[in-house]
Amino acid sequence: MSTKNGNGTAATGGPIGKSVKRVEDKRFTMGHGKFTDDIVLPGQTYAAFVRSQDAHAKILSVDTSAAKAMSGVVAIYTGADVVGVNGVPCGWQVNFKNGNAMKEPKHPLLVADKTRHVGDAIAIVIAESIEEAFDAAQAVNVEYEELPCVVDAFKATQPGAPLVHDDVPNNICFDWVLGNPIEEVNAAMSSATHVTTLEFVNQRLIPNAIEPRCYNSSYDPINDKYTLYTSTQNPHVIRLLMCAFVLGIPEHKVRVISYDVGGGFGSKIFHYTEEALLTWCTKQIGRPVKWTAERKESFLLDAHGRDHITKAEMGFDSNGKIVALRVKTYANLGAYLSTFGSCVPTYLHGTLMQGLYTTPKINIDVTAVFTHTTAVDAYRGAGRPEATYLLERLMDLAAHEMNIDPAELRFRNFIPPFDGINQPGYQTQVALQYDSGNYHAVLEKGLEMLGYEDFRKAQKESANNGKLLGVGFSTYIEACGIAPSAVVGSLGARAGLFEFGQIRVQPTGKVTVYTGAHSHGQGHETTFAQVVADKLGISMDDVEIIHGDTEKIGFGMGSYGSRSIAVGGTAIVKSIEKVIEKGKKIAAHLLEASADDIDFANGNFTVKGTDKSIAFGNVALTAYVPHNYPKDLEPGLDFSSFYDPANFTFPFGCHIAVVEVDKETGQVALKRFIAVDDFGNIINPMIVEGQVHGGVAQGVGQALFEGAEYNDHGQLTNASYMDYCMPRADDFPIFETATQVTPCPHNPLGVKGAGEAGAIGSTPAVVNAVIDALWSGGHEVKDIRMPLTSERVWRAMKN
């Protein structure tokens, strides 16, 4: 694997580009990680919730009197107690096609009037122990009047459907359109010689970070100061939302800390009601309050992902060139708008409809709908997996229908290579401008790894021995490095999406780095230290990465959207540049030269063309012991930077799945999985490969195993690990991975981000492979609903 930076120069031989072992591992492997539930504060109390067992019910009465009299109970609050408190906000405003703002019904901390999904919180019980809290919660008596409910996004928009919010007609939060005018797309579609149509469901998924959400909030009345320990992906964002939008607490009076977080995958981005409610409660009772979700609560309350109902049509000319794409999607938002629920099916989904193809006319229409279900928001990939699934399923199906090889069909339609420097970025029909790409090459590499010709021979032979072999392709693109603030602001984001990074050089030349990005498994303590050590020419042992504490870190927007290295890493690089610039001034003074004549390389400041040099550590010491020092220069060597990216980054790649389908049972076995990804430059190949593995496992999980199942009564019928089929170790083959490097042209590291690609590219590859297997057996099947259980595949073969 070659590593180049953005302007094409080779890496320095420092830690960048090397598979350095992770520095954070020791505390986890020894059992000394510091997760939120590990923290117990003096005077600790524990919270349990009374939650709705009905999806939609009027609350007639809540009787807490018996519960309040029970042993150990400290306090009980109901919806009536927090009627005057704001609900949790949505961070992205999407407008209706007619320009009106989306509907934003209140998402209260506790419901007082009616429940809108199973698990809606009715009361919080705080006690001396968690057992006493559970006991008392059981004793709270709630009288309900059950109401009819609706769980399906399309049905919810139909006349007569029960309303989730009385003031939201037809349960429509907003409707939205992007791309070319529909008339132009219709005309192009009419000119097509073949149109492939696919109606499908991208099923609802449950993120299932293995660490349940946990919050521990405390209040210091002497200093009027709150501290919230929380399992979040973005502590500063939580502080801002909770202080400014929910509780009206001055931001400087709240410290939010998230030390080790046990996986997020998007589900820990959002500001949840429990965070604000516990913070409200701690002041009421004057003691710390802790809540740890039970797994059932994780199933019922962590924001879910996906849940789209879509009809997509792709038109081709007689040469197999795409002439038009037309899409209609109903996106299920659940009962309430989660923090980024509105932008996932729109700006993270519609904007990816170009894919890797030169499609000249595109129109996507999205209706976002409230239902009596758990809120839906970003889950690994967030909108981009849905877009990729749509496009890549269409491509393989069109190939079958037109009897063109699926790889060949892609080659005919790929956007030609462009590096974003000598060739401009590629302007899509759906708002984005891709930064750099070389799409043919990843597919060629994938076909080579697969041994495509041999595979097709083996496929013909396998049909004779009771098994159907199939191969599925997915050539994906994603928009990462989220995001240029002005761009997202113009699209409705209510926040900037820059990042903060501070380099504090200590007097001895050791470096403490403060980053607004947050690691919950990604290995920032290693990757960021590699960048700093490389750029400053010092040992990684001399670099410490600090994250996850609003009191220590200047600001931060957190980690999601594969943004940590592209945005957070760049903020750090900008601060390093400032350190070096000031260091040159100090070195120039000490070496009696002009700052312009000082070079910095390999940890030494050197006068150009001479052997006069001074080490980084000596310059640092001088900055803090400024006895012999430039006259007009401040002491110290400590810089921070905010970095607002110029564009999104656009990783891409080719995923190929090979499956074997049992003709008798429909059982699918994943035999091979090939991932060729282009993330731009790579800082730590080992960590990046780990990200690919994890993402692919989740994407394959969607294709073959996972899916939230609601019945008509709004009950989530598989809300446990006994019922929701999470992938286990024996569900996967060894993954075959490779990377290609097309540097990002607009950030100094040339990086694009790698966190979500596995989950974005893999799902359609697996489903396409099963469909291909069935076609090879003479079953001309268009679609099988995910997850592809043996029953569903068997039925598809029988019908």
Binding site: K26, G33, D37, Y721, M726
Partner: protein
């Protein structure tokens, strides 16, 4: 009503009065403050709470503290000896067998039981042995490699252990 139990955890004897309904995992976490053992679910599904009870991998959320009376328990905190990492702990670092680290203690304890009974497990045997443990981050592949790596180290002659470790 409380019941007196005596357990030896990581070589240290503890006697405590506990409620009969107290789960072993909560005894370890809340009473002994050994927080390396995690709770990821309440239904024995995820395996994050796996410890060794009398040498056998056991999900400590499935067992009451009173059932552990008179037993010998090893948790993740007790796996290293005299500050030296157990080969599994080192292997997970060498092979990138963890990301967020939440499931890791349970998986390492499960693996330690496996390697006691099967010195040289195949890839398939390792994957089957892990069927009681969820990892949502890694896709399991590097966990499998970590366990293979540790098995190789543990079965190697003593002298070889001091050699510089090859990159995997």
């Amino acid at each position: 009503m409380s019941i007196k139990i005596t357990v030896t955890v990581n070589g240290v004897k503890h006697t405590d009065k506990v409620e009969p309904r107290l789960l072993l995992v909560h005894y370890l976490r809340d009473v002994l403050r050994l927080t390396g053992t995690h709770v990821g679910c309440d239904t024995s599904g995820c395996g994050a709470c796996t410890i060794l009870v009398n040498g056998k991998a056991t999900k400590s959320c499935t067992m009451l503290a009173v059932q552990a009376d008179k037993s010998k328990i090893t948790t993740i905190e007790g796996l290293a000896t005299n500050g030296e990492l157990h080969p599994l702990q080192d292997a997970f670092n060498q092979c990138h067998g963890l990301q967020c680290g939440f499931c890791t203690p349970g998986i390492i304890m499960t693996a330690s039981d496996l390697l006691k009974n099967n010195k040289k497990p195949s890839e398939e045997e390792i994957r089957v042995a892990l069927e009681g443990n969820f990892c949502r981050c890694t896709g399991y592949e590097n966990i499998v490699k970590s366990i293979q790596y540790a098995a190789d180290k543990m079965s190697a002659p003593r002298a070889r252990k001091t050699k510089k470790e090859a990159t995997v």
